[in-house]
């Protein structure tokens, strides 16, 4: 048996590895072992077993009701708002072209301004 050199006060508390390993692993082992990790397996009622299925049906019904409500709301509100035509290059091209032509015609109907004849800007020749 070979002894490791230790200070005198520590050699008195040396312990065999089996004992140390036993203490180490047993200290890690939970003292209160958990119950069976299954819903209803410890004598609970069987109704808990059907709970997920009931919840699934309820959630699907809620989704269906929400979709129906959304569709009804869109149907009722579809005619409630006044439609405004968009004006500008992003509007319908045909509408935009008709408006442009109408504006052009309106402008052409306006009376032409009558200005007095402007004097000629030709520079008279210098004699000589």
């Amino acid at each position: 048996m070979s002894r490791v050199k230790l200070p005198p006060d520590e050699t008195q508390s040396i312990r065999p590895p089996d004992e140390l390993l036993g203490d180490f692993f047993k200290s890690a082992l939970p003292q209160a072992w958990p119950a069976v990790p299954v819903p209803g397996a410890t004598g609970a009622d069987r109704a808990q077993g059907t709970q997920p299925y009931t919840t699934l049906i309820k959630s699907r019904l809620a989704v269906a009701a929400s979709v129906a409500l959304l569709a009804a709301a869109s149907f009722w509100t579809s005619g409630s708002f006044q439609r405004q035509e968009r004006v500008g290059p992003r509007a319908d091209p045909a509408t935009w072209e008709a408006q442009r032509r109408r504006l052009h015609q309106d402008v052409s109907r306006l009376p032409r301004p009558s200005h007095p004849a402007l004097p000629s800007r030709r520079i008279p020749r210098q004699p000589g």
């Binding site: 312990r15 036993g22 200290s27 890690a28 069976v36 397996a41």
Partner: protein
């Protein structure tokens, strides 16, 4: 309907029997992988939940013990690859090595120090060696029982056990924890 209920009750009783028989073995293998008691407990419970779901889905499991141990090993391995394992929030000292309440503070401190050294030594061993040590020292399994759990022969268990113990003893001796034999 009555036969279905009786079959359900019988299946539940079988499941509870499996839990009583093998849950500590599952915990021991999970603990051997990470040396974390709480994590091993979580893995053990998740393993049995999966067994329960597999039975509910009608899956045929011929060898429940082997199935449980395989799933537990896979879960422990998956956890090793997960981000939580890399960035865990608890130190090993927080998670494990909780001493008895009757101990004096000085004794507790000494034990924690010794356990930290043992932990460091164990982390240097292979997971296979730690599995053997865990079954041997946590559950007091004999060599044939360990061989049965790990599906290896008793000679291999004896060799690996003595080799692992020797490694632990040597390293602890270097650290001045105990005497070598």
């Amino acid at each position: 309907m009555a036969s279905s209920a009786s079959g359900d009750t019988r299946g539940r009783a079988e499941f509870e029997a499996l839990y009583q028989r093998h849950s500590r073995e599952v915990w021991a293998l999970a603990y051997a992988r990470h040396l974390k008691s709480d994590l091993a407990l979580d893995i053990m419970q998740e393993t049995f939940m999966r067994l329960w779901r597999a039975r509910l889905s009608g899956e045929t499991i011929l060898n429940p013990r082997a199935w449980l141990l395989r799933v537990a090993r896979n879960l422990a391995e998956d956890h090793a690859k997960s981000a939580f394992s890399r960035n865990g929030t608890h130190t090993p000292q927080t998670m494990d090595g909780v001493p008895s309440r009757e101990m004096l503070p000085v004794e507790r401190l000494e034990q924690q120090e010794t356990f930290a050294q043992i932990r460091a030594v164990l982390e240097g061993l292979s997971p296979a060696d730690r599995e053997i040590l865990s079954l041997r020292y946590a559950l007091d399994y004999s060599t044939p029982e360990i061989a049965e759990v790990l599906s290896i022969n008793t000679t291999a268990v004896h060799m690996r056990l003595s080799r692992a113990r020797q490694r632990v003893a040597d390293r602890l001796a270097v650290q001045g924890v105990h005497q070598t034999s």
